[in-house]
Point group: C2
């Protein structure tokens, strides 16, 4: 199967090979050394400021989102949440569940955040802002420099979900002044799902140290303490961490994150050029390189997903909820070759001839 979802995505042969063994024992100096290198490379790739740390949780991205809300924020915070889709809504629900005092900026699905949304919240005593840099459900990439500037001017802690943006879109933690950035193993890192990554700048570390523990399993404090010696408090998804190591060193040795970002951008642009003649409307006001969200004119998105899966051996990414029949997404992350991209374009053109698209 060819996989054009937004994750889990296709892995390259070198990464797959890592998991083609029994899982090694991990309470060893050898595994610790590898984990310390994972931390170092992640911080480098994110341009994290001096004194930052990075931890690896055995969880989905949602586990890392919740760990930020539980460990970095507390009941005294006043939080702005940008809610432009399923993942913004998840931050809203997490703030409600953990009794964080929050104000939601609710955007119409597919629309981006503009300065006029933030302006009324300036100087109002807000202390933190939660944003999904790329709202994966709608394909919208938010204007991070604009958001970062607002946070700097208002002394607001910036917490970034970059789960599907890391490596796909430009991301400089220090330039943004972000206190925390999270990502996941199955997006542009392009390894198995099972690991979420949290990079923490000193401003976040200081809060984690000070805040009371809410949940042992998702405790960033425990993860940080164990991470000093390259270990995790609980048995981690070892194979996924080994694959992350292989992938990070491969990226380092082939041009770094900038080259990876350019590769993904080129894949996205080739796809977008290739569908220009198809009756597909780009759904997102601003686009991430990670994904293209599309609205087929008068055709059913779920049916297009099904036919591509069952008849062409191609997965695209269906949408859930109220947009399930109207929107589908095509991912540009993972090990996608030019030939793979062309195979999808050919299939979509054939669907047009068959009047399914």
């Amino acid at each position: 199967m060819l996989n054009f979802t937004v994750g889990p995505v296709m892995s390259c042969e070198d990464v797959i090979e890592v998991a083609n063994h029994s899982t090694p024992y991990f309470r060893t100096p050898e595994f610790s050394a590898l984990m310390l290198e994972n931390e170092k490379l992640m911080l480098e790739f994110l341009h994290a400021p001096a004194g930052s740390r990075c931890v690896f949780l055995t969880s989905s991205g949602t586990g890392a989102m919740e760990s930020m809300v539980m460990n970095i924020l507390n009941g005294d915070d006043r939080v702005i949440v940008v809610n432009g889709g399923s993942f913004g809504q998840r931050f809203v629900e997490l703030c409600a569940l953990h009794h964080r005092d929050y104000t939601e900026i609710k955007l119409p699905f597919g629309r981006t955040l503009k300065p006029e949304h933030l302006a009324p919240l300036a100087g109002q005593g807000y202390t933190a802002l939660l944003v999904n840099m790329h709202e994966t459900s709608s394909g919208v990439l938010y204007d991070m420099p604009m958001i970062a500037e607002f946070c700097k001017q208002n002394g607001i802690l910036l917490l970034v979900d970059a789960i599907s943006a890391f490596l796909a879109d430009e991301l400089d933690m220090e330039a943004l002044g972000a206190a925390a950035v999270i990502t996941g193993s199955q997006k542009a890192l392009a390894v198995q799902p099972g690991i979420a990554v949290a990079a923490l700048a000193p401003a976040a570390l200081e809060r984690i140290d000070r805040n009371p523990e809410v949940c042992m399993y998702l405790s960033l404090k425990e993860a940080l303490v164990n991470g000093v010696r390259g270990q995790t408090p609980f048995t981690p998804a070892v194979m996924t961490l080994l694959q992350i190591h292989r992938r990070l060193t491969m990226i380092r040795d082939s041009g770094g994150p900038k080259a990876e970002h350019e590769r993904i951008k080129a894949t996205a642009e080739a796809f977008r050029a290739g569908i220009a003649d198809l009756p597909l409307k780009c759904f997102s006001e601003t686009q991430s390189n990670a994904v293209t969200a599309l609205m087929p004119a008068g055709k059913n998105a779920k049916e297009i997903f099904r036919v591509l899966k069952d008849e062409y051996g191609i997965w695209i990414c269906p949408n859930g909820g109220v947009w399930a029949d109207e929107v589908f997404r095509v991912g540009h992350i993972g090990h996608i070759t030019k030939e793979d991209n062309q195979a999808l374009l050919d299939a979509l053109h054939e669907l047009q001839e068959r009047k399914i698209l």
Copy 2:
């Protein structure tokens, strides 16, 4: 490397092969069908009572331990915790963190629970009991029928951590009247780490439904709702779940859990017979088939671990904390052949000649 730890353990070729691919997309009817079969087989293997459900969390075993404390128990419970080692201590810490009213039965390390420990707690209004069926840190297997009888007589909800006992020791959820049993992917299931499994009898399901949500990521309510259609609320460790499916169907097709249990028991017995002439003291008052905890007479346990790793290509399982220099453990779970067992016995005898053991 030969791996005789208590997890992650060695996997058979068929299971390894499952991960030797890119991760498939999982929001599909195909993956749902596989997950529903995973649930069905787990409940069968555990002899779960009618109306039980089983969910799969992307976490370590500790995630499932905490999910029981958060989702099944509440602030009105009065909880007995059997604490005979690191994992009993973890339940104590989880109860403290989540403000559960608990009483700890603290056992000396390596000793088992006896009726006289429980007797004073009868008729005292306790509502729940947390126990690590096999206290993995000390190798002690508790007398589960005795504990179950106490719980039945006193109307106490029995919550069982069988993380390292499942498939290794006899376990009949219905006979025990257990409300919940948890296990993990990297123990006798012998696949990659990354997934914890929670089997929930109606008594637990009713409480989960009634209790307020404490944590979104570890919510059993969310897992149960999504599990009805064979899905998970968040992106799971897909490869580990596919490996679990391969392994469960292999066990089903080769004699079921009883045959698996007999195989592990035979491996343990062969090892124990083979070390009878060595200066090693069995450390556990009662033994699980999953592991043998050993105390080398006058030699350093950590050094034995190191030499076996660096010079023989064999991992045994070191102990942490205050017992690190005095106790090591040998696991009998995972894909261990007779030849593997013999290789370890030969190495241990050579260490004796070299006066390291």
